[in-house]
């Protein structure tokens, strides 16, 4: 309990620093984008790193959140805050409809199904001209996502996530990731916990999408294609599967690298692709492996190193 209290306090401090650090306009934009990317990455991390379900279609939930918030604020004049939350909720509803039948699939099969579903959602948004304005995109969204808003969402959702992974549900997810059969035998209802993980991750991605809409003032179905989904999963793997702080670090690193190379946009994607390959070749376990950042600080580490405890789980 003391540890999680300390963690929460640290997270609030991080949020306050991000929110009130004096920055130029450009840097503020980057902080906002960073927070948005981190929110989405946390969602995917819960599903991929902590539950062992690989999704290659999570950009679709971002798209749902973005379009929901955009349509509510622009067309119906709803205030941005409920609109963003509604974006998350719509993503959850769709994830529930999708998860009911598809979550029984495992491994590559779920990943492939999620590609299909993600692309299908994108194509529906693209072809539903009258409602979404189709492929040309949805312009004129209020820029409601300033630094304070995105840092605020990031802090609240981040604290929620870190408490979640140390909660009963979090342990349940990790158990079902490491060995589903054993977890079931221990009395966990693994299908239900997998579903919860999917819904929560969809919520995070929906919120991130809604924030992204307000950040860019413009959304387009092609922003949420398979490429974006890959990026979400890649960031999580880069940070380390099963490490939430690693996910945040990975997301921050990738976002900064991509920002850094913005001037040579031609080479940007090339570098990104090379980065993915090189990371997989040199350090497939990601930045932090499956440990959290504080596991590296000796005084905070409690007893057994988790990486040793998990040695046998590699061969999934």
């Amino acid at each position: 309990m003391r540890k999680s209290l300390l963690g929460n306090a640290a997270f609030v401090a991080l949020g306050l620093v991000l929110a009130f650090m004096p920055l130029s306009g450009y840097e503020e934009g980057i902080v906002a984008l960073l927070c948005i990317n981190c929110i989405a990455a946390m969602g995917v991390s819960l599903l991929t790193g902590f539950t062992g379900i690989f999704s290659l279609g999570h950009a679709a939930y971002m798209a749902l959140g973005a379009y929901t918030a955009a349509i509510m604020t622009v067309r119906y004049g709803v205030h941005w805050l409920p609109a963003i939350v509604a974006g998350g909720i719509i993503a959850v509803l769709v994830a529930w409809l999708i998860g009911m039948p598809t979550l029984r699939l495992t491994g590559d099969y779920y990943a492939i199904a999620s590609i299909g579903l993600g692309e299908a959602i994108r194509l529906i948004l693209e072809n539903w001209q009258s409602f979404t304005r189709g492929a040309r995109g949805f312009p004129g969204i209020d820029s409601y996502t300033n630094r304070a808003v995105s840092v605020g969402f990031f802090t609240v959702l981040g604290i929620g996530m870190f408490n979640l992974i140390y909660s009963r549900l979090g342990r349940e997810l990790k158990a079902s990731r490491d060995d589903r059969v054993a977890a079931s035998l221990m009395g966990f209802h693994t299908p239900a916990s997998r579903m919860k993980a999917l819904l929560i991750s969809a919520f995070y991605c929906g919120i991130a999408g809604a924030l992204l809409g307000g950040y860019m003032n413009f959304i387009q179905p092609s922003m949420f294609d398979m490429m974006k989904s890959t990026e979400l999963t890649a960031v999580v793997v880069f940070g380390g599967l099963g490490s939430m702080s690693g996910t945040l670090l990975g997301s921050a690193a990738i976002t900064s690298v991509m920002e850094y190379f913005r001037d040579i946009s031609q080479y940007r994607m090339l570098i990104y692709g090379l980065l993915l390959v090189v990371i997989m070749v040199l350090r497939p376990e990601g930045l932090l492996g499956d440990r959290e950042l504080w596991a590296f600080v000796p005084s905070l580490r409690g007893g057994v190193k988790r990486s040793e405890a998990r040695e046998g789980g590699e061969g999934r």
């Binding site: 299909g116 579903l117 194509l123 692709g273 997989m280 590699e314």
Partner: protein, 300 residues
Amino acid sequence: MVNGVQFSTLFQQIINGLSLGSVYALIAVGYSLVYSILSFSNFAHGGFLVVGGYICYGLLMGKGFNIWIASLGALVGAGFVAALTERLAYKPIRERTSMTLYLLIASMGVSIVIENLFVIVVGGRFRALPQNTFPSALFSLGGNVTVSAFDIFSLVIAVTFLGGLQLFLSRTRWGLAIRAAACDLRTAGLMGVNVSLLIAIVFFVAGLLAAVGGIFLSVRYTLYPQLGGITTKAFVAAVIGGLGSLPGAVVGSLILGLAEMLTAGFISSQMRDLVVFSMLVIMLLVKPAGFFGKQIGDKI
């Protein structure tokens, strides 16, 4: 009369669908072959197709070779690129871990690298192989049904290559080794198969078949760095047929080609992709192993 028109559209679209499906089959078979050995989805497969397309274009337009030599060069070139990709990107990962997710992400990286290399080196614009590269005359089959010689040609070539692959797999020693490895890679290695070489051969063959598909696609549509994206449909076809099963990949591709063209003919061509992905999802829900795949339950 209305019925007559409908019937000829139907017939027309069936021919188009088979022709498109046969091109998908070339791509899907290579993808499925790799899956059967290493059980990961090689998303770089689309890149091999683009490499093949550009080599063919370069040899044909730049160096002035005739189409046969250019195609041969493209096939061999793409095969080498595929084998090289395996050696540089996948082999180190394979040797370190058995988690296929890492291979999957590396393959996405490779696909992004190949696509953007072409954007940088040759530019992103659309290129067309000259019209007279392949037979392109139109025949009329009575009524409004016309068949382009190119459709028939690509169908014949695709069948030839697929038949050749079947012979290679069923009649040669390496074919036997590949089939054994598809059953169990480790055991095949223990029985004295040179696994490294075997995987290189599998990638070479996959790249070669992808290049054939790439050349046809660059004639049918045009050639551009993102052309590899079309492989997603070949993946769908492979899944519908059953991942890792070669007959499945062919059957899935033909079904997909027909579904796509019939949707384009009778509903609207914007719905094609939606139909493709809906078929994928429905198939996964009803029969995740596809038509011919190994039954997969939970691995317990």
